[in-house]
Symmetry: C2
Subunit: 305 residues, 2 copies
Amino acid sequence: MGGTRIKMALLNKNAEILRTKDIDAQAGLSMEQRLEDLVDDINGLVGSDCKLKGIGIAFPGIIDFESKKILSKYVKYPNAHKTDIPGWAEKHWRIPLLIENDARAALLGEWQHGSGKGCNNILMVTLGTGMGSAVLLNGQLLRGRNYLAGNLGGHMSIDFQGEICNCGNRGCVETLASTWALEENLKKIPNYKSSILYKEETLSFKSVFTCASNGDNIAEKLKLQSLEAWSSGIINLLHAYDPEKLILGGGILESKEEIIPFIRKRVWEYSWLPDSGTEIVAAEQTKYAGLQGMCYLLNIEIFNN
Amino acid sequence: MGGTRIKMALLNKNAEILRTKDIDAQAGLSMEQRLEDLVDDINGLVGSDCKLKGIGIAFPGIIDFESKKILSKYVKYPNAHKTDIPGWAEKHWRIPLLIENDARAALLGEWQHGSGKGCNNILMVTLGTGMGSAVLLNGQLLRGRNYLAGNLGGHMSIDFQGEICNCGNRGCVETLASTWALEENLKKIPNYKSSILYKEETLSFKSVFTCASNGDNIAEKLKLQSLEAWSSGIINLLHAYDPEKLILGGGILESKEEIIPFIRKRVWEYSWLPDSGTEIVAAEQTKYAGLQGMCYLLNIEIFNN
């Protein structure tokens, strides 16, 4: 369940994707309402030829995996933290449900079926609307006492005297580089009204990168600040966990020919990691990695496969 | 082996401290030379009534625990990274030797014998000449692929467009708040020459805190910047690992009535942790925790106790 789209898929027990359906997130509807709306879509995906055995939800927020509760008050789905999510699956299908943070789910999907295969110590960073992150240590998700561990890469402070982020912390990576902060950051650049970006209705990193490559100086500055902020946050995370592999995913990675080489260069210049100390790769399964990760969790937690 | 003092102790297998000896680090002498000088001191500590079974060294640097090599080129002990340290113990006493990062060793000591007892998920941060850190997860030290994991709290960037640190990274916590950077940071404060601190030959946090409490405005600013920088770095680390407990140690903690409440307040204000989500405590065994930690490592790695 993303901020803008809800991506659904029917998978078999080997995490092979049989059918998919994407719908608009309809931000603003309550979580309870939104889940009820999904019932028909889910039944349609399952059809008459399959039997639904469990549901996994990858959700953009802090998740109590054990009690299956959303802990953060995620604005895109009002009242998500008050919703009885396993109760919904029980009521409609009498089946088990698991819910996990979306970056953790994507990490598990990449580990099992993507660019993380065979590697048990992975840092995953997703660059999308915000910056998500998750960590696998010795083949186990790092969750932490309050289920925060590894998930707050986007809210790492890299500007300790900077502006207060919407999360309450100061100078977070996302305050400096995220889709939601693009407009505000654009307006801090002198002479920003001369940029083509200023005329766009909703700013995206895609347009920032495109305008920059077309010679728009303001877009170039915005792009560079974002690349520097992501790199700094990522170096801090690499130092924190010192993983074997860093997997970069998320929608913005469409510009991966530019982003990944930049981050590799900064890691080489600024970090303590020895040359080839960490492999830095792009995610392979950008679209359904999260669902494949949830399939893995259902298998090991519920079906003991 | 610290930057200014070498603290030695003879411990029995229960990590009880039998005899101690502190000597000057004599910064500048090569590591090989320094180790040779220690032989008489060590033999003196052991005396005729005890038998030396193993040696553990807690060292301020990045350590390859498996191959017993110092990886970082620590300036205080030149050529440390080229020295055959286990060879030295073998040559003089024919006994095993272990070496580990000093913050990791202190964490193990606090875990076994100090304020970390009974808790298997701990973040330790030491505020001394610099800021050290180490992490225990599920009762195991987090070491990482290149032995960096958890040790670089002091070199986390919290000012991504700030000055280049002596480590090559940008805007590290230590660039903003460490004993080695105090003078430079003092000189960035307008009108710094009016401060009593300006007259001191070598600046220390002790004098910064004392002058601040005596009403010296410049010292107050320097104190506040340091507290903010430590807090920001510590919140980033708490988010990264989400441990049960944060233990604060190191020489600067003599001012712990001021430092710990400040950090607690900032964690409460700025972090994502729920109230009482993490216990924040002072280290108990500030002086010999590292040696007790090395005793623990010798017991489990060599003597199978």
